[in-house]
Amino acid sequence: MKKKFFTPLDILIAVIIFAICLSGLVLTFNRGGEKIVIQAEGKIYGEYDLASLSTKSKTVEIKTKYGKNVLEIDCYGADMIYADCENQIDVKHRKITKAGESLVCAPHKVVVYIDGKGGADGVSR
């Protein structure tokens, strides 16, 4: 039996998933961040208040037993510039600047994310 490429229900499914994801993107990423948190192997590796960083970027080395990552941070956000892992997904990922955004290096179990809730200023905002 020949099958049609799209049934009405298929298009409905695509539209629903698209709508959910788009609203999710807008809701989660449309907030300003407070601090950059580096997490490695489930533990906090380092925290940097965005306010305390300058416009000139500085690099942070993240060493785990799985390998090395180099992160570039400034007062706008964080960007992974080097990782000695295979897939390089975190390096290709664009710079993260908003609360809730994250850079993930799965092979090294490293997560870098921007926290919007932390810090004293988070309450007053």
């Binding site: 049609k4 490429f5 799209f6 998933i17 788009l22 989660t28 994250s102 994310y113």
Partner: protein
């Protein structure tokens, strides 16, 4: 006339070939530079085989083929660390695709989109657990949109396959 034994031998051989094809496709996929355009994104070519098996041989064969493929390609190309991700992704997506197949009105493209989306959802969930950070869940919004396009692609290819195969 084929005996029942011959028939099942044929089936085993054919499913073995399909598993090999799925593995080859997931290897070939690593050469297609979707990954550099959208980090973490891929077409999910191996899902074409999963859908084919699901439509022609049923749920249990589709699950076993995609699980075997996930483990073997993990060992061969992706590294052992990648196995929990692809394993959970494969199992979850086959379950959802089977359920979707049972619902009247959902076509192959819809099944493929749901499969791609579930695959991503399961992988992001595994990442949350492995790395102990719930924020990673935010990736699903971004990967979900990509999965609509990837799912449409694999779905349309599957329909071509379905419409052209000799019975």
């Amino acid at each position: 006339m084929e005996s029942a034994g011959e028939k099942s031998l044929k089936k085993v051989a054919r499913l073995g070939l399909l598993t090999a094809l799925a593995m080859a496709l997931s290897y070939i996929e690593s050469f297609i530079p979707v990954n550099s355009a959208v980090p973490g994104g891929k077409l999910g070519l191996a899902n074409i085989v999963t859908i084919y098996v699901l439509l022609n041989y049923g749920f249990s064969y589709a699950v076993s083929i995609s699980v075997i493929r996930a483990i073997l390609s993990g060992l061969l190309f992706g590294g052992i660390m990648s196995i929990p991700y692809s394993f959970m992704g494969a199992v979850a997506s086959v379950i959802v695709m089977t359920l979707a197949y049972k619902i009247k009105g959902i076509g192959i493209t819809g099944i493929a989109i749901l499969g791609a989306f579930t695959h991503n959802l399961a992988q992001v969930a595994v990442a949350c657990v492995i790395m102990g950070n719930i924020l990673i869940m935010n990736y699903i919004w971004y990967l979900g949109i990509i999965s609509i396009f990837a799912g449409t692609f694999t779905g349309v290819v599957s329909i071509f396959l379905n419409n052209t195969q000799r019975k």
